[in-house]
Amino acid sequence: MNKQEFLAALSRKLNGLPEDDLQRSLDYYREMLADRTEEGLSEEEAVAALGSVEQIAAQILEANPGSRTKRRLSAWEIVLLILGAPLWLPLLIAAASIVLSAYIVIWSGVLVLYSLAVSLAATAFAGIVCALPLFCQGEVAVGLLYLGLGLIGAGLTAPAFWGCNCIAKGLVRLTGWVFRKLLRRESK
């Protein structure tokens, strides 16, 4: 085995170790190999002098409490998982459905806010449009009322939509943040 192969093999065996512990270990052995080859040994001889990769990896992992190689499930654990599926799978689906429904409810709330904004726009439209025939009929006071309401609606429409957009964007960002947090915990 040459230096690259050795370091690659060691890196593979140390999979699961925190990144800087892994790098430190590799640096150490890289340095050891470099020192030996500097003294005249060939790469192959230097690697052979270090001993087996298994043993070295075992020693490093042993000295590193709480670092477990990414749970490669044993055959036994896989069997249990499959056998238990009728139990945990429906529960998982139920839990996921509840979370999803709650999420949809929140978005429906946003939808309600949007409909409010739309009704403001409709008021604006209706008020202004209906005011015209009233003026023509001579109903100035009522016409002015309609026009006034319509203009208020028109004025409030833009801010209402802007507010809804902010809330919607905020909700999307919140969702993204929650997802990222969950994913980070998974990979730890």
């Binding site: 430190r24 270990s25 640096d27 150490y28 052995y29 340095e31 050891m32 470099a34 020192d35 030996r36 500097e38 270090l50 001993g51 043993q55 070295i56 020693q59 490093i60 042993e62 000295a63």
Partner: protein, 106 residues
């Protein structure tokens, strides 16, 4: 020899190897060789342990175009060596007593 005892002994050996001047992994092994045989894979956890206990510090320095880690002993490390000396002075007294030539033996 008791595993724990051996581990403690190797720890203090490594400290002694860097006592007078900072050294690097491969040289520590070579310096210890006439007295104690130690492999690279044994040395590595010892160095990590000593660093965690602040008995030594690590600094990278350039050597032949690559970075080499040099281990420097700390005052705490020197105190550890001193404590070891005292422990063993005591042990030697006990040893001398236990193996003394008993003139009054029947």
């Amino acid at each position: 020899m008791d595993v724990q005892m051996k581990r403690g002994l190797l720890d203090v050996c490594v400290l002694a190897a860097i006592k007078d001047e900072a050294s690097y992994g491969y040289r520590i092994i070579k310096d210890m060789k006439p007295y104690v045989d130690i492999s690279e894979s044994t040395l590595y956890p010892i160095l990590r342990r000593l660093e965690a206990a602040r008995f030594l510090t690590v600094q990278s320095a350039e050597h032949n175009g690559r970075l080499r880690k040099y281990y420097h002993i700390t005052p705490l490390g020197l105190a550890r060596i001193e404590a070891f000396r005292e422990e063993w002075d005591e042990l030697l007294s006990v040893y001398r007593f236990v193996t003394r030539e008993d003139g009054k033996h029947e």
